[in-house]
């Protein structure tokens, strides 16, 4: 990797992705080998929006590399409440930390913040924008379960507001995956994302559907996201589509035995609990993969400090 910051999955080449995933696999196989690798290193956690899991996952990753974290705490208790700008906050915390992780409700916040700091900055979600470290752990999970070669994936649910979906779709264009996007019409992929996917050369492998039925049998992976009731202008509209996008044992009868079911979690009722114990379920494993993948990511970003980036 030759990036100072990780802002969007669009900046990741196939080689970059493979570097992170390979490193994650090494760490996963022998975590003790990296236990002191980043002793003395401090990671700054700037979460302007609650996200316990992502935050804990980064915190765990840094500590397992021998480092520590500083946490600005909740927005309510911080100087943000007093009206401090993000640009000021990141410049202050940069003085305490060797790298920063930013979650912020505004789109483009990570891009802007990265213009103010010299330490590596990882975007852990910018509004409806991007969430690239989630994408890396999704890719890791896909590689472990189904492989990234010759992949047919269905991505289902709220494709409009789902930043994890957008990030994953961009990254998968590196692997020529066949991508089937399944959603109610009102929650289709934003046209801008479709535009980008075409720009990235993903034109052949992108299809949009309103129902999972026709594509389910052909899928290697089904990536389910939560349809948020509050996104619908009226309850009736929600009720019409809600049932269509829930996965249970009966739905999966039409699927391949090898189908891997993923979900970025938390889920509500998109995946019935009866799936949890089957070989299809990979969502808890997916969540656990966040730690080795973020360890690998931090290791690669921090190890480039002081160098000129040439490899």
């Amino acid at each position: 990797m030759r990036h100072d910051h990780l802002i969007t999955s669009k900046q990741l080449s196939r080689a970059d992705i493979e570097t992170v995933l390979d490193r994650a696999a090494e760490i996963d196989a022998d975590p003790s080998a990296v236990a002191d690798r980043h002793a003395e290193t401090v990671l700054g956690l700037l979460f302007f929006e609650p996200s316990t899991r992502t935050k804990m996952s980064f915190e765990t990753a840094m500590k397992r590399l021998g480092g520590d974290v500083v946490d600005m705490g909740s927005v309510e208790s911080s100087s943000v409440k007093k009206g401090e700008t993000l640009a000021d906050t990141v410049r202050v915390i940069e003085g305490y930390a060797d790298a920063l992780v930013l979650r912020h409700p505004k789109q483009g916040s990570a891009t802007m913040a990265s213009e103010y700091v010299d330490v590596p900055l990882v975007n852990a979600g910018d509004g409806a924008g991007h969430h690239p470290s989630q994408t890396l752990l999704d890719l890791y999970t896909i590689r472990e379960n189904a492989g990234l070669e010759d992949l047919t994936i269905g991505i289902m649910g709220d494709l409009k507001y789902g930043r994890t979906v957008h990030s994953l779709a961009y990254a998968l264009t590196n692997f020529d995956a066949r991508q089937h996007f399944i959603s109610p019409e009102s929650l289709q992929l934003p046209r801008e994302v479709v535009y980008d996917l075409h720009q990235q050369g993903g034109t052949t492998g992108i299809r949009e559907h309103e129902s999972p039925e026709e594509v389910l049998p052909s899928l290697d992976v089904l990536y389910v996201t939560r349809i948020q009731r509050e996104r619908f202008p009226d309850e009736n509209e929600y009720q019409k589509v809600a049932g269509e996008y829930q996965i249970d044992a009966e739905t999966l009868e039409a699927a391949s035995d090898d189908l891997t079911v993923m979900h970025p979690l938390p889920r509500v009722d998109e995946i019935a609990p009866e799936i949890d114990a089957t070989d299809h379920a990979a969502y808890f494993e997916q969540a656990h993969n966040g730690v080795p993948v973020r360890m690998a990511l931090l290791d690669l970003l921090l190890s480039e400090q002081g160098g000129d980036g040439d490899e």
Binding site: T85, L86, K106, Q107, G108, M112, D126, E192, Y195, D196
Partner: protein, 162 residues
């Protein structure tokens, strides 16, 4: 373009509507109705005492109807001219000194425009209180915010930061 009448249609045929200037810039072949947006993009509103002549919806050979903007005492920079291309892609810029056109050029589309347009996405970081200058990359058929990535194809003039 080489048509003599066309080249002069602003200055001669419609002399009564848009008077000649001595020193300054004539922006010709602006799409009909866009003259006020051209002034907005240039940050000219007359409050500095600038002497302006504006012709709107003047008949033209090249465009069915065109606008002309004449700014006395001010020569546009290349940057300003480039930004004009977003709303006036056919415009010709004439720099006038002593009543003579001393330079004449076409606008060129820049790859990036900074500090000119404001992002229409209320969820964009540039719409908050941050000390950030708006930046848009110029696409073939629109502009795109460099921060939130929103693409705007129509109504670019309405984004002009005034």
């Amino acid at each position: 373009m080489s048509n003599d009448r066309d080249r002069h249609d602003g200055d001669d045929d419609h002399a009564l509507r848009v008077s000649k200037i001595r020193d300054g810039t004539v922006i010709d072949h602006v799409r009909g109705g866009q003259a006020l947006n051209v002034l907005a993009i240039l940050g000219i509103d007359g409050s500095e005492g600038e002497e302006l002549s504006i012709g709107m919806n003047v008949p033209s050979d090249r465009l069915a109807r065109k606008d002309i903007v004449k700014v006395e005492g001010r020569e546009l920079s290349q940057d300003e001219v480039d930004v004009l291309s977003l709303i006036a892609p056919d415009a010709t810029i004439n720099i006038v000194r002593g009543y003579d056109v001393v330079e004449k050029h076409r606008v060129e589309r820049p790859t990036v425009v900074e500090g000119v347009l404001s992002c229409p996405n209320p969820g964009c970081i540039t719409t908050g209180n941050e000390p950030v200058t708006s930046r848009f990359s110029v696409l073939e058929d629109g502009v795109r915010c460099s921060y939130c990535e929103t693409i705007v194809r129509d109504e670019i003039a309405s984004l002009i930061d005034t």
